[in-house]
Symmetry: C2
């Protein structure tokens, strides 16, 4: 189940296949969807900061080993990723398409359109692998049709099940992967009126995609069907 974007069959009244969405898309939509319900999203620009757990246990083991090799000044061995990931960034997740985006990057648009039933939604995404063990983070700039209101936005996020608002800049509280790793809830913060959209919001959302993006989400879809 790990790499996300997989489908599974549920044998209840529902007939057919329910897709378990791509993990960065799932984490992004936890915050974007309640905002979309209020203001109708038109497009987003997103940059991801994806943990090595997205590649399963072998990704986590590679980062652990490479960190160890760096600490004792040994040569760094690369097996899972095309390049060293410890103390580095790899601006490639999955494979490249003719348009210059990766398959992972295009899922943000394609899968969001399906999940939100919003066929004109557009997303331009850059997916980057970062030297973090667990939990994917996404910086999002979102444009909306209806006038945004920051207080209504915050209220909607506060009421979204499975999402926690962690957003108090004064006390340096914002979502971070080490705080979210191992938790079922996604966290959103850095919410602000977007400075370069006439009518937009910027935010930062973090989720342990091993839970939200794969296993937990599959269980929640099944629970929904059995209600």
């Amino acid at each position: 189940m790990l790499p996300g974007g997989n489908s599974f069959l549920v044998t209840t009244q529902h007939r057919g296949i329910i897709s378990n969405p791509n993990c960065t898309t799932a984490v992004t939509l936890m915050a974007l969807y309640p905002l979309h319900q209020l203001f109708t999203v038109t497009r987003i620009f997103a940059s991801t900061y994806q943990a090595v757990s997205g590649s399963g246990m072998k990704g986590m083991e590679e980062l652990r080993l490479q960190n160890q090799q760096l600490v004792v000044s040994e040569e760094v061995v690369t097996q899972v990723y095309p390049h060293q990931i410890a103390a580095n960034l790899i601006p490639q997740v999955e494979s490249f398409l003719p348009n210059g985006y990766t398959t992972e990057e295009m899922k943000m648009e394609n899968e969001s359109r399906k999940i939100m039933h919003h066929p004109t939604f557009r997303a331009s995404t850059t997916c980057v692998r970062v030297p973090v063990y667990r939990a994917h983070s996404v910086a999002v700039n979102a444009e909306f049709e209806k006038p945004v209101d920051i207080e209504r936005a915050r209220e909607a996020l506060l009421h979204m099940p499975g999402l926690k608002v962690v957003d108090d800049p004064e006390t340096q509280r914002y979502p971070m992967p080490i705080a979210v790793a191992g938790k079922y809830d996604c966290e959103v913060g850095r919410l602000r009126r977007d400075h370069a959209f006439e009518n937009g919001l910027a935010f930062w959302v973090v989720g342990d995609q091993l839970l939200k993006g794969a296993a937990l989400n599959a269980v929640q879809i099944a629970e929904e069907l059995l209600k």
Copy 2:
């Protein structure tokens, strides 16, 4: 000189203060400026991946110590940053403004306006500290006034002094901090027609801001004046 955004006085024919720009702004503009000259940029959405060297030697030492503490399962000690940076992301660089952006984030707009002599340019930026020792990376989505042409864009980047184009997805070549650390040139790659702008380009630019953002840039400004 390290934290960028500092000014210094040059005592030649030029009278007054020449500002040495903020380091992420300097790195971003190395790629954005030649594109702006061709197509006239209107706005960008940018997300940064900033190395600990942005905080000077003490930032690099903090990451090194924390990585060591994680490897031997010791308690992680935090001194320079408000939170653990090893195996983590901190979505705060500098201090928060009333509009929800940080001072570092607003520099991308303010300093770019000055450097490009472009008072209507807009930038919405999210600045994130990442567990990388040296070289800042920036994911940029840029909108332009004139129709963009990807081949002319690539040509302009190839001819920009101080910038290298590293962009061959087929062979998994793109800019990465470990490849750029210690180099004078910035590197740009992942160049593509932007999927969510009618008329835009997306790219990924990496630069060792200790060089481009501070010391080297100061030297280059001085050289320019002495010509």
